[in-house]
Symmetry: C2
Subunit: 374 residues, 2 copies
Amino acid sequence: MSGRNCKGPFKILVLPGDGIGPEITREAVKVLKALSEKSGITFNFQHGLIGGAAIDEVGVPLPAETVELGKKSDAILLGAVGGPKWDNLPPEIRPELGGLLKIRKVFDLYANLRPVMFFPELKNASPLKPDIIEGVDILMVRELTGGLYFGEKKRITTEQGEQAVIDTLIYTEKEVERVVRLGFELAQKRGGKLTLVDKANVLESSRFWREVAEEVKKDYPEVTLSYMYVDNCAMQLIRNPRQFDVIVTENMFGDILTDEGSVLAGSIGLLPSASLNGKFGLYEPIHGSAPDIAGQNKANPLATILSAGMMLRYSLDCPEEALLIEKAVKAVLQKGYRTGDILEPGTTLVTCEEMGDLVAEEILGGVYDEGLPL
Amino acid sequence: MSGRNCKGPFKILVLPGDGIGPEITREAVKVLKALSEKSGITFNFQHGLIGGAAIDEVGVPLPAETVELGKKSDAILLGAVGGPKWDNLPPEIRPELGGLLKIRKVFDLYANLRPVMFFPELKNASPLKPDIIEGVDILMVRELTGGLYFGEKKRITTEQGEQAVIDTLIYTEKEVERVVRLGFELAQKRGGKLTLVDKANVLESSRFWREVAEEVKKDYPEVTLSYMYVDNCAMQLIRNPRQFDVIVTENMFGDILTDEGSVLAGSIGLLPSASLNGKFGLYEPIHGSAPDIAGQNKANPLATILSAGMMLRYSLDCPEEALLIEKAVKAVLQKGYRTGDILEPGTTLVTCEEMGDLVAEEILGGVYDEGLPL
Ligand SMILES: [Mg+2]
Ligand SMILES: [Mg+2]
């Protein structure tokens, strides 16, 4: 393979988590092993506890051992956390807050990357008309450490003696700079277009983001930077999503827009994500732990497999291998194989395990030899 | 007519504004006059200056005389403001900020009402598939006076010596109470379902809104109150918009969601709005002043005509007459008449004036006599 740095050995920490987490991460690891067999990249997989599984085993949702393992690894591949079993615990020690959000904080993962991908085979599942959704390929970058999420919150009594409430939106220059720079880096490697989404006609913080972006822009003369108000972006994602390449935005706007984006293509069960701090990252499907079908070999592992693909691209310097995984997934879909969540008339139902096998087979014998740009 | 209070004389202040404003308000007034002729309601129309037209005439975007006229009126019907001619003025004295936003502030218009309506005749224009958009009928209520828009904004230097920026989201109990109560009132008159959209898993202000809503709810036992996170709502509006009846939300979330909602049905040129303070309100189309086609008799007056319909419903206690205007608009669309912005193969192009005539004719001779629930 061409990847100069793409040899390994790469230390991957696998955190299966709860519900369908163990099944879907197992298939993603299977696919990575197939890639290793075919290409010679070495992966060292270690497994760790997180979420409800960690609570059951050692009493806390994020054991210190998991953090230690993470620190020694090149990237983390996570399944999903949470389930009704742990929903009555205090929020801070539940799988979501005490496990997932805490590990993001511990590793200072400041950027959440969410692709909005269109799979022609799934176009019937999109709520949008085909002429609007076809060809859409967006990478959304959401800032994860600042904004309204972590600013001061308080109840006050006004001078008029009235009850009132305050949330604070705060950003430091460093927080803005690193995520905007990442947006430029990504745009440079993709279509060369970066859209900063904000509300600069209202928010001082948005005007600050624009000032920082104008500075960072000087280092990326090939990237076209444009600005768009968040309310307009919420419209444009529906009317004309093909106009976007990379979008970068602050935490709350990103929360709203990434979720809006996730339903456009109708393939929410296939969408991966990355949470990055520089090259280090945590990779996971955007869907949840689906406790209702856990352990039944019914889950769709493709979002986790594609998350492993993002890991190759963003943490391991293996962009061609990432493409290979994406191509293998597309090939399997094209051949008509579907898990239950995306089953349609005329397609073939397969189990979680069979889906993993099919993608691995494509890599071992199919798409790999077809002359990808490797 | 049945409306006990719906007789008048009603004092309506008409503010044509800029661009296509004069043409579209003229047609809305024409329709109200037809209604008056048929039903015996008395309207006293006064005209005032706002926006660029006011700047050109008397030097300021919101003359004191306009405010005085507004104070003496039962409602205000506005066209649109702004245009390239005034874009180089300082923001505070431009038509938008110094005219439109200022009049909203002067009259303390605290709730913006935006219907998301589906017109079967325009379904080809929707970006959504017909099975998703058919039958959608949502009323969105956005709080207009609080939140991130009016809280303190500042640049600071952190203890570590870093540049940082702060915006403040602030709400008083009164601000929340009045708009939440309006949401309940509206839901009670419609489908009986109110959805409070917030981010209560993150924001203290959202938790405050929920506490207020739980109190106000006691006065509306027939209304079903539910809560939804804003990111989920951004998804649900696309996946399953029929689930919503009335949505109430804070200022910024409302800004984003009303704009997202406005493109769902593909009929943005037909969407009216109301900005209310109790019964008093300002009514206007959601579209802009379209300076490029101003004065050419091409503009679509339907959003302004439907805004006059909202005025009848929310400020003048004439709900049946409001329905009549809506029915007249639907009848004209059904007969295939279209302005240029919504023209499709097989439909008939009409001018702005002809469109107004057609709706007025329906009221004078058509739908009025067909046995509306009057
Ligand atoms: Mg979200
Ligand atoms: Mg807006």
